[in-house]
Symmetry: C2
Subunit: 146 residues, 2 copies
DNA sequence: TCTGAAAAAATGTAAGA
DNA sequence: TCTTACATTTTTTCAGA
C-alpha cells in the first residue's frame, strides 16, 4: 500500500471523524483527492467501517471476559464460529493455534449474566469452555504503527 | 443512562461517521439537540473517541496473537502495564484473574517480528509469556447490544 | 490521479421557550 | 434540555489537466 494511503488510514484510526478538509491539510492533498482516496480504501475493504469507542462500564457492560473454547467432539466438522455468531454478547471470535480452538471476547453486565452466557455458548456450539475474567483494562484499541 | 443517549451511542458505534442530521432523524430530535447530547457523552467519557476499523492484513499486520504474561517476581510491585505501554505492537492490555496476570493482544507482520516482540515484552516487564497465535478472525469489534 | 469550482448539505453557535 | 434560525464550514460532484 502506498505511503499516502497509509497516512490517511493512520489519521482516520486516530480520529475516525476527521474531516476531509483536515485530512487534506495533513497530507498535502486537496480535499477532493483525499476524499477519492478514502472512498477507494473503503471499497477495497482496507477501511472496514467507522465506530465510536465506548466506555463499556458507563453503558452497563462492566464485565469483560475471554472464553477459550474446545469442541466436545473434535472430529465433527467445525462450524463453531457460525453457531456462536448469533450470540450478541460475543464481541470477537478468533480461531487460534494451541490447546483450544477459539478465543471469544465477551461483555456482560453481571457475573450471573456471564454464567448464563457460558451455558448458552456450551450448548449452542457443543464446546467446553475455560473462562478468564478481566479485572481491569489499562489500555485497549490502541492505534497500530503503520 | 437515558434511553435517548443509549440510542445515540448505539448508532455511533454502528457508524462512527454518521452525521448529526441523520442522528437527529433516527432519534426524533433536532440536529442541535443530538449535537449537544453527543458533546455531553464525549465530555462524560461515555464516548471515548472515534476510529476507523482497518483490515489488519491489508496494512501489513497479518499476525495477531494473545500473550499471557506472568511476573518472574510475583512479590514485586506490579507496574507491568506501564512498562509495556511503550510497546506499540500491543493493541490491548487486560489485567485478568487466573493463572496469569495480564493478557496482551498484539499485531505484527511476521513470525520473526513476533519472536522479537516476545523478547522485548519479557525483558521490559520482567515477565514470562505464553503465546497463542490467531489463525483467523471470524468476527471482531461487533457492536454490543445496549 | 490530481486540482479547482460550485452546489448541496452539515456543523456550530446563539436566542428563546 | 429542547427548538428554530442563521452564518460558517464541509461534503460532494464534476469538468479539465
Amino acid at each position: 500500500m502506498e505511503q499516502l494511503d497509509r497516512e490517511i488510514v493512520e489519521l482516520l484510526v486516530k480520529d475516525g471523524r476527521m474531516s476531509y478538509t483536515d485530512l487534506g491539510k495533513a497530507t498535502g492533498l486537496s480535499t477532493s483527492a483525499v476524499h477519492q482516496r478514502v472512498r477507494r480504501l473503503e471499497q477495497r475493504g482496507v477501511i472496514k467501517g467507522y465506530t465510536a469507542l465506548i466506555d463499556a462500564e458507563s453503558v452497563g457492560l462492566a464485565m469483560t471476559a475471554f472464553i477459550s473454547v474446545k469442541p466436545f467432539d473434535p472430529s465433527a466438522p467445525d462450524d463453531i464460529a457460525e453457531r456462536l455468531a448469533g450470540i450478541e454478547e460475543i464481541e470477537a471470535c478468533h480461531s487460534v493455534a494451541g490447546d483450544e480452538n477459539y478465543i471469544l471476547k465477551v461483555r456482560v453486565a453481571t457475573p450471573t449474566e456471564l454464567e448464563l452466557l457460558l451455558a448458552r455458548v456450551r450448548s449452542v456450539a457443543g464446546v467446553s469452555t475455560r473462562t478468564t475474567v478481566v479485572l481491569s483494562t489499562p489500555y485497549e484499541a490502541r492505534p497500530p504503527r503503520l
